[in-house]
């Protein structure tokens, strides 16, 4: 599989106290472990099982994923904008690989 490519959408700026929507997407097959190959052998499970979001280093949202999450997992969620800073995203693969992304938010 090609390396997972994360994409995140965070508004560049927000008013203090505003609730902003954050959208995240990462390219990944999310192999469920339920499928069989042409010879009838089970294809081993390989999914992203954890997604963590931090703001200025402090975790404020996370998700545990089971194989029932679709390929190229998409997740949108929210944050109340209180101060300017950096949002950090980490996806953790079954094989231990970590994929990361960062976005800056300016609060006015």
């Amino acid at each position: 599989m090609a390396s997972a490519k994360p994409r995140v959408k965070v508004p560049a700026s927000a008013a203090k106290g505003e609730i902003i929507e954050i959208k995240s997407l990462i390219s990944h097959t999310m192999e469920s472990g339920q499928r069989k190959d042409k010879e009838g052998k089970a294809i081993p499970r390989k999914i992203i099982n954890k997604f963590i979001v931090t703001f200025n280093g402090k975790e404020f949202f996370s998700a545990d994923w089971a194989p029932a999450i679709s390929a190229n997992p998409f997740l949108s969620f929210h944050m109340r904008a209180e101060e300017s800073g950096t949002m950090g995203f980490t996806w953790i693969d079954d094989d231990g690989s970590k994929y990361t992304a960062e976005k800056n938010l300016k609060v006015t």
Binding site: A66, I69, S76
Partner: protein, 161 residues
């Protein structure tokens, strides 16, 4: 012109009836195929998972679970969940669990919220193996639970291959 209209009028009922027949046959086949597939074992696994978390006495309100009534492609079904909560430091949604009763494994995802989120709402895309109930269970900061169930009819399952 008049001739054309007449022809159209003649043709239209025929087209509709043909379409109707196809739709009816399709719906009947779909229903027949769906009903026996919802097995009790799946529901039992989901109930056990909910009980293990402590949510078996959950209040059946306070969650909006947004799913299509009919999902043509079970490999990617949009799901939105929102839990009523002020999301303040002493009253917020801690965790939202999503279960799919008819999947090989009922677990779908677990979302961990904090008051910093401002609102307990999320959207994602999930796999559904067949027609089934999708359940959202929310654990609040005071230890109480809320629960919502939505049935989704799945045309093509999205787990096996």
């Amino acid at each position: 012109m008049i001739e054309e209209t007449k022809m159209k009028l003649k043709e239209t009922p025929k087209e509709i009836s043909r379409r109707h027949v196809i739709m009816l046959v399709g719906a009947a086949a779909a229903t027949a195929g769906m009903l026996p597939r919802v097995s009790l074992a799946d529901k039992a696994a989901t109930d056990a998972a909910i009980k293990a978390i402590g949510g078996d006495g959950a209040e059946m309100s306070g969650i909006t679970l947004d799913l299509p009534q009919i999902a043509e492609n079970g490999s990617t079904v949009s799901v939105g969940v929102e839990v009523d909560s002020p999301m303040t430091a002493d009253n917020y949604v801690k965790t939202v669990y999503i279960f799919a009763e008819g999947n090989p494994n009922p677990d779908v995802c677990t979302l961990h919220f904090t008051p910093a989120g401002g609102i307990a709402r999320a959207y994602t895309r999930i796999r559904l193996a067949k027609t089934q109930n999708v359940i959202a269970l929310a654990e609040m900061s005071d230890g109480s639970f809320k629960r919502e169930t939505v049935e989704v009819k799945v045309t093509i399952g999205g787990c096996g291959g």
